[in-house]
Symmetry: C2
Subunit: 234 residues, 2 copies
């Protein structure tokens, strides 16, 4: 089975959650987002049946799977990227969906009023939204990840081996560390287990080749996680 990943070019965005799982799982795939531009992507999407609502989507033979968490579930069921039992399987998926929620909130901070308008046109609202996100939302979400790791007691979110949820937590911490370096620095003391997962993922032998390849895309102000210094704060 050969997979094709379709996503916006040049940004990690939601596609990177899928790339990390494909890479760590040793799953062969063709990254179409590196080959085509946004227009070709939209043309391809419009021709799919069933048509995905938006990128990313994964083409697997006759199948076309969209929504990041759905794609990860699909890959995990086929390639064992999470525990196979009902409890672990649905726990990994629950965590992934919650990571999607905070990632979406992180996006909405710089686009609180209109996702289709420029940040500069909603900056006053974004300043207010950033305060709420830093002071209440980040501690609440990260407190939950920390609790899960305490309850797991095994160093990873869903047990003694990494799952796609751990890879996604790594990407979330990386993204928010880029966007909110000052806030993440003050949060650090409260989330040692989360930061341990970040370090463990960074050191995974399964990801060494990917990290060394230069293929991993950097964060920027065109993406989910954006660094606007005025939105950060301790």
């Amino acid at each position: 089975m050969s997979y094709e990943l379709w996503y916006w070019p040049d940004v990690p965005g939601r596609g990177e959650f899928i790339r990390l799982a494909l890479e760590a799982g040793g799953i062969g795939y063709r990254d179409r987002s590196c080959e085509v531009g946004g227009e070709a992507l939209m043309r391809d999407l419009a021709g799919r049946r069933p048509r995905p609502y938006a990128p990313p989507y994964l083409v697997a033979g006759d199948l076309c799977i969209a929504q990041t968490a759905n794609i990860l579930l699909f890959l995990s069921d086929r390639h064992g990227l999470a525990p196979a039992d009902e409890a672990g399987r649905h726990l990994a998926h629950q965590i992934q969906l919650t990571i999607a929620d905070i990632a979406e909130e992180a996006h909405d901070v710089h686009h609180p009023v209109d996702a289709g308008a420029y940040y500069e046109d909603q900056k006053a609202e974004a300043l207010r939204a950033a305060e709420a996100f830093r002071e209440r939302r980040m501690p609440k979400y990260f407190g939950w990840f920390e609790t899960l790791l305490e309850q797991s007691g095994a160093g990873w979110l869903t047990g003694a081996r990494w799952s796609y949820a751990d890879l996604s937590l790594f990407q979330l911490v990386e993204g928010l560390g880029y966007a909110y370096p000052r806030r993440m620095a003050t949060l650090a003391a409260d989330i040692p287990l989360v930061l341990a997962v970040r370090a463990q993922v960074r050191a995974l032998p399964e990801l060494a080749a990917y990290f060394a390849s230069g293929r991993r895309l950097g964060f920027s102000e065109e993406c989910l996680f954006r660094h606007y210094p005025e939105l950060d704060g301790a």
Copy 2:
């Protein structure tokens, strides 16, 4: 297997997507949200392992499943609430996740800056957010549901029989019809197949007892879908 649904009392919210699936599937459950208050709910949640991030969650023996779409996937796999093949299963889930996205956006319209603050304290921002939501987001999402129904050609989103995705689309249309009656009226001409699904779900024999029971909770300004006339518009 006896299920317990835990959610905030007195509001349909995200819990209603699950209730509709349980009711239409003829699945026995105990609705704990009708029995306990918010404090008891929070106490119960804090004692669960793994602890859910937020309600709703479903308790099934030793299992505790959270995140609405995850719960629906779990129930569907056990009770056949969507096609069993890979394509249909992941299509239903993709649709559910996209319905979750628009429901979240509908919530963010009246809370664009801070979900923890009052609507009245972010009304100016909400007026701007509502315009973008009505003019661009609602047509984009509903256009996609309409396209899926055209592609399906069978009257339901995932084939010739209803799935939990159709029930959720019904709930979404009901909710947005409550919140934005003027906008939904002008959109109606463009989404005949979506409105047909709404009518079909309303007439499902499997749901007749539930709809007649008086147990179905009404929308209000304490919930996801809120009617603030100043946010509506044709």
